[in-house]
């Protein structure tokens, strides 16, 4: 394998105005092994997390398990096939304050296979000193064996959008 081809940036989106509530990476090539998405930014309103959907599937085909620490407490929660939290993989990527951005890394492994459901691991931190500080990680499942060819990252709460300056970068990882 040619050197430098293992970890490849595929697409990058920078939000220039706070009017969008979602970002879509589409036409994802199937020749990689895993996908990585790095998100740096914030929402425009506090208290809303982000959701992850695949192939425009908005049905309740997602579930997730989360572990979160706020600095004063550790909690674990889950979302399943009912309600909004079952319609995406939820990760608590809350409002940043001024220049304190939040960061999330999404790892989607074996995304292009057509025999198993799709798993994602997400690490996220929000350095905000207000209501929703946090360090968290999530494992999420999409109950579908289809290859992932598009990924939607969204802020599903009413009254919030993605803040201007937020960047989202998609990488492909290629195994030998």
């Amino acid at each position: 394998m040619p050197a430098g081809m293992t970890y490849t940036p595929l697409a990058k989106t920078t939000i220039n105005s706070a009017t969008a509530s979602s970002v879509v990476f589409s036409s994802i090539p199937s020749n990689y092994t895993d996908l990585i998405i790095v998100v740096s930014g914030k929402n425009t309103a506090s208290g809303y997390g982000w959701g992850l959907q695949y192939n425009s599937d908005t049905a309740a085909n997602y579930s997730w398990t989360m572990l979160e620490g706020s600095g004063t407490a550790v909690t674990s929660m889950r979302g399943g096939s009912t309600g909004l939290t079952g319609q995406s993989i939820y990760f608590a990527y809350n409002q940043g304050i001024s220049d304190l951005l939040s960061y999330a890394t999404v790892s989607i492994q074996n995304y292009s296979n057509t025999t198993t459901n799709k798993s994602a691991l997400i690490r996220q931190n929000n350095p905000s000193s207000t209501t929703y500080p946090g360090l968290s990680a999530v494992v999420g499942i999409w109950r579908n064996t289809a290859a992932i060819n598009s990924i939607t990252l969204m802020v599903p709460g009413a009254g919030t959008t993605i803040a201007s300056g937020t960047t989202l970068t998609l990488y492909g990882i290629l195994a030998a």
């Binding site: 550790v74 999530v138 494992v139 990882i173």
Partner: protein, 182 residues
């Protein structure tokens, strides 16, 4: 052809210096194992070159049972030279555990109805002046149950890691990939 920035000294893979810089060869795939029909009881990465700084294993594991454990050993060492600390959540409550003087590290959970996934970083694996430390993020979700798990492990040996063995009953479609980071 790599272009070197006169300003920063960094290399870029593209002709537009200032783009995302990924040093050619800085993250390389070393080996991959995909388990076929019939399964297998272990996955071994052997003859690991010493030319990288760190290793990363990206594991997508299908097994015959849910919520078992996948053990990890270095250089076939089966003595009580391992220890680890874990922080985990089961969807309703957090938990923590520690284990000393173990004969294996904890690499991942097992997943039967759903695959379990993990990303394992092994730092300074070839350094003969240090014990070896790994950092792992592990998860499996079954739509109503599951775990998110952090694990930090230690191998009390200064030997360079030349082989890694993952032990579990692996089913078809398990995929394990080893990467080197410079």
């Amino acid at each position: 052809m790599a272009i070197r920035s006169l300003k920063t000294g960094s290399f870029s893979r593209s002709a537009q210096v200032g783009n995302q810089v990924i040093m050619p060869g800085s993250y390389e795939s070393i080996a991959t194992v995909t388990v076929g029909a019939g399964g297998q009881s272990s996955i071994v990465f052997s003859s690991i070159p010493s030319t990288f700084q760190h290793l990363q294993i990206r594991l997508f594991s299908k097994n015959t049972t849910d919520n078992g454990t996948i053990g990890m050993r270095y250089n076939s060492d089966s003595a009580s030279n391992y220890s680890f600390h874990d922080l985990y959540g089961n969807g309703t409550a957090p938990g923590t555990l520690t284990a000393a003087n173990q004969t294996t590290l904890f690499a991942c959970l097992t997943g039967s109805t759903q695959a379990a996934v993990s990303v394992i970083d092994i730092l300074d694996y070839a350094d003969t002046n240090k014990f070896k430390t790994n950092r792992s993020l592990i998860g499996v979700d079954y739509n109503g149950s599951g775990y998110l798990w952090f694990s930090s492990g230690n191998w009390r040996s200064t030997s360079a890691i030349t082989s890694i063995t993952l032990n579990a009953t692996f089913s078809q479609y398990t995929h394990a990939a080893l990467y080197g980071v410079k």
